[in-house]
Point group: C2
């Protein structure tokens, strides 16, 4: 029974997109007992939540929670305010699809759940190469969050630190896809599009679709996305 005593739990933030699905596959491959966490935050692309549920099921996580938190109430993003259109051409700077403090809120909640579960690790599929330029995807943000997390929790104070893992942070989209395919991940089940319809059909034009499509092209692999 000794093995049972080794707590190897991890909370995995899973949106239903390509990156977080790969992140979950990596956590599984590393032998973690996976607890998947998604948020219903009033996002335009709600079919990603169905993808998150379906991926969690097929990848046999221990539990999958979808937490409702209203972020549309504060607005300020094309993903939560239906009056702001999703851009379909590349823009300069941080795009309007940026949701203020989204990853900070998501990681904070994951931290609370990890503490209750006595999990050792949180996985988040942020990526700072082929990404939309969001501030809360960068390595120095994650590093600062880690320091804060060590001080925020009872776990941290008692010396049981919860480690934030970002296995995709330095990878290109093509490298992420290759890694996922090597682990047997079926990317047709993931939804990256910011304005996917209710059946999960992608627009092929938004920033997220463009990054994803280019990733498959660069990887020399067939793109299974339904456009």
């Amino acid at each position: 029974m000794k093995e049972k005593e080794l707590n190897n739990k991890a909370v995995i933030l899973i949106s239903g997109g390509l990156d977080s699905a790969t992140c979950l596959a990596i956590a599984k491959e590393r032998g973690f007992d996976c607890y998947a966490l998604s948020f219903d935050y009033g996002q335009r692309h709600r079919s990603e939540l169905q993808a998150a549920a379906s991926l969690s099921l097929s990848m046999q996580v221990i539990d999958h929670k979808i937490i409702p938190i209203d972020m549309s109430g504060i607005g300020g993003s094309a993903l939560t305010d239906m009056n702001i259109a999703v851009p379909e051409v590349e823009t300069n700077g941080i795009p309007i699809t940026y949701v203020p403090a989204r990853n900070t809120v998501f990681l904070s909640y994951a931290l609370g759940w990890a503490e209750v579960l006595e999990a050792t690790t949180i996985f988040i599929g942020v990526n700072a190469l082929d990404y939309s330029g969001y501030p809360d995807c960068r390595p120095d943000f994650i590093e600062a969050f880690q320091k804060m997390a060590n001080l925020a929790t009872k776990a941290g104070i008692e010396g049981h630190k919860i480690q934030i893992e970002t296995p995709l942070i330095d990878l290109t989209k093509a490298e992420i896809i290759k890694q996922g395919i090597a682990m047997g991940l079926d990317y047709s089940k993931t939804i990256s599009c910011y304005q996917a319809d209710q059946d999960g059909k992608a627009c092929g034009r938004c920033d997220s679709c463009r990054l994803r499509s280019k990733g498959f092209l660069d990887a020399g692999l067939e793109d299974p996305t339904i456009y």
Copy 2:
């Protein structure tokens, strides 16, 4: 019209309790346009939300949002799990009323709203003297959150940092009460009790009641709490 250009907005986290009400009064006194923020997180003491709404109204904030976020789903606290009793005697260490990562989640959300509002400041009424020993009330947690916040947001990247203000952090409960009374605050409108009934009647026995009651005693002021 020059004055209009000076943005003097602040987001104030307000629970409905004594500390956050004092914090709101301080922000008003400092001349901020106040945006009050509360959370319906499945807390046992829901009458504090009515107190938060009533205080926000009487103190003429510009807006008051009550954001629903389910924290009972992750459990681990007497405040969100109805199967765990609120302790009525002093305990050692961090008490079971600690809600994992609560202030981290609340501050993260406040950060998002502050960014959308282009607010300069967030006020939180944490206090590290007469408090329950929660890790996320301590100065080094707040300092680490501030550093993380500067990296988390578009605002931070563009050089418009959002300042976290903790005007009560070094004060005793008696000093907080004296300061509030001096500003004309009516503490009968605030609810601190962890298990207040639906009419806001306090138990007089929980940790929060004991700290509050001792505060009025130490301040030599009449305690207007309804027990």
